[in-house]
Structure formats: C-alpha cells, structure tokens
Symmetry: C2
Subunit: 139 residues, 2 copies
Amino acid sequence: MTTRDIDENVRAELNRLRESIDNIDAAVVHMLAERFKCTQQVGHLKAQHHLPPADPDRESRQIERLRQLAESAKLDPAFAEKLLNFIIAEVIRHHETIAASPADSPQTDRIAPKTAPNAAASTATNTAASTDPKASPDA
Amino acid sequence: MTTRDIDENVRAELNRLRESIDNIDAAVVHMLAERFKCTQQVGHLKAQHHLPPADPDRESRQIERLRQLAESAKLDPAFAEKLLNFIIAEVIRHHETIAASPADSPQTDRIAPKTAPNAAASTATNTAASTDPKASPDA
C-alpha cells in the first residue's frame, strides 16, 4: 500500500464520517424545529389559560430524565443538561424579545391554540421560537 | 362546558405537548450520541494520519448548510449556527481536558481507527466526546 493509497483511504473514511455527521445534523435541526412548534403551542396554551409560564418541577424532571437518557446513550449527562439549558435560554431570549411586541399579546378567547391564527408568525422573523412569548422551561 | 372541563382539556393538551417534547428530546440525545461517535472517529483518524485537527473550510460549509436547513424548517438560522458552535465548543473543551491524559496519546500505527482499541474509553469519564482528543470542528 503506497502513501497515496493510504491518503485516499483516509480521505474516503473522513468523507464517510462527515456525511454521517451532516445527516445527523439535518435530523437534529428538523427535530428541534418540531420541538419549537410544540413549545410554541405550550406557550400560547399557558398564556390563554393564565397558567404560570415557568414550571420548575417539570424542568427538574426533564433534566433528570435527559441525564439518564444521555447516560444510557453514552453521552455526557452534563452535556445533555447544558444542551437543554441552552435551548431553554434561547426560547426565553426569543420570548422576551417578542413579549414586547403588540402583535403577540395574549388572546384569551381561544381554547385550542394549535388551530388559532398566529399573528406573530407572519410578523416575526423566521424564528420558530420567536412566536412563543409565554414559553416555559418546557422549552 | 364548565371551568373544570376546560381545565381538564387544557391539562390534557399540555400533557400531549410535553410528551412530544420528551420524545423529541430523547431522539436528539440519541442523535447527538451517534454524532459524537462520528467525531470521535474523525479525531482519531486525523491524529493517526497527522491531519490538521481544524478545518475552517469544512466548518464554513457546515454552518452555511445548517443555516439553510434551519431556514427551510422554519427554525431561526442564527439559533442553528449557535447550536453548532455550542456542540463544537463542548467537543473542544472535552478534547482539551483529555489531551493532557497520557491514556489518550495518539497511536500512529493504526489505519482503521474505528476498529482499534480505545484506551481512553475505559479510563475517561462517561463522555463520548471526551475520547476525542483531536476533534476538529467537524464536531
């Protein structure tokens, strides 16, 4: 085997791994897009029914569960916890930005938020989470 | 419909959304566990073949691609980019920690890293990324 062969083998292996990384990244992006759709609904549901936006018990259970899942998947549990906090921080940041927007004030006459028109969706930037002014740490 | 009915409906809807969030989180955790397995292999491959750990061109392409994917999924592209940077930072942090460990010194006699014994895996903490001392921003 020549040096050139090794180089080509190495390059092929590197490309193979990078293609897997890219596939996984695409999956994660789409998963998170779906996740923000859920937290957006949670936010509207809570706003409409005057439920407290934050739920520390729920958050504790989420963190504990994620740590256990991470451990079983041989992923650093501390990393999983930090990831959840990163996502929560992002949702809170967006919801604080949008909360000041009059277009996203609570609408109290809706029971089924998922079918209600979402004024914020058309006026906000292209940000799933940004339409979630009352997002809780469910996020 | 009584207030109690509404409360029960709202609670049921909230639980439904939270179950979806939990399912998505489990999927993301497992996806990221698989991703770290890939970047771990990339790290070893690069270390063995004396390839530079960082690849700015690759990273630029990754970021641009992720931003486009995010946009098509109606996810904030800036969030997707921050997420990638968050993951990269985590891998680098772990690889710096482990790089100082004699158990994870490069082994230059391996061509196929995925089949090679991984001394670090058994001695490091339960951290997929921590076994990746030469991780590049492929992470």
